[in-house]
Symmetry: C2
Subunit: 160 residues, 2 copies
Amino acid sequence: MSFTIREGEARDVKAILNLIQELADFEKLPNEVELTTEDLMRDGFSNQPKFKTFIAEESDGNIVGMALFYERYSTWKGKIIHLEDLMVTQSKRGIGAGKALYTAVLKYAHEQGCKRVSWEVLDWNKSAIKFYESTGANILDGWQVVQMNERKLQEFVKNN
Amino acid sequence: MSFTIREGEARDVKAILNLIQELADFEKLPNEVELTTEDLMRDGFSNQPKFKTFIAEESDGNIVGMALFYERYSTWKGKIIHLEDLMVTQSKRGIGAGKALYTAVLKYAHEQGCKRVSWEVLDWNKSAIKFYESTGANILDGWQVVQMNERKLQEFVKNN
């Protein structure tokens, strides 16, 4: 079955959240998703959206994949695009939807004059790493991701 | 000499860029900074700024440090703050400016109702890592940063 890539719309929030959850399951962190469809609606499909999405949709309207991305700012390069999630549902792997979504994001970044596209990958996800490298992306050595979660943030602010 | 923390303003762009360059030098990547004061002015101090800054300023007006940050979006948690750069000039280390800037960013994130604050650190920067961990931040295992630079992005778009 063929598919097309289009921008995500408000009516897609349920499908987008399902794909977010499926990606969290794949990443072995199934309980981390706190986001709701209401959050996605407010944050992505109102004035001043905080992210954009591309959707892979089969000809019967079935949504099989999505890419979610937003702008960041590099103090070295300027405006960049960050690809937060790229996900194709398990049963639809291999039809080219992932590559098509990835390509759509990179073309969008290029059209916007961005100086870089960034994302993060789990080090055990060797097939993804191999794919990214084959397209010209660079897996950085030496940089580590740091996070302070909401509970620790509250504690820190209370004590400082 | 005492210092105060305040929001960055347009008149600070030269000092901000000097600190960005000093940080790139410290990170052993001195030639990576392509940003200009004009870029910083347009991107940070016009309508719809792409980032915010806090400035550490001594009582004589000398700017000794800065934090640059912006909003990102987690598909698990929602709105988060990303701390892109935190820098105190070499000769002014140890007076508490770094901790004060860091605290200002975390308080801002908390006030904004953010679910997480994120940043990146070089794995050899053990003193920074130790400090971050002492405040409740978590150095993630297993996640790698991926980037596609402008030249590779152009090549990819041309060929796809």
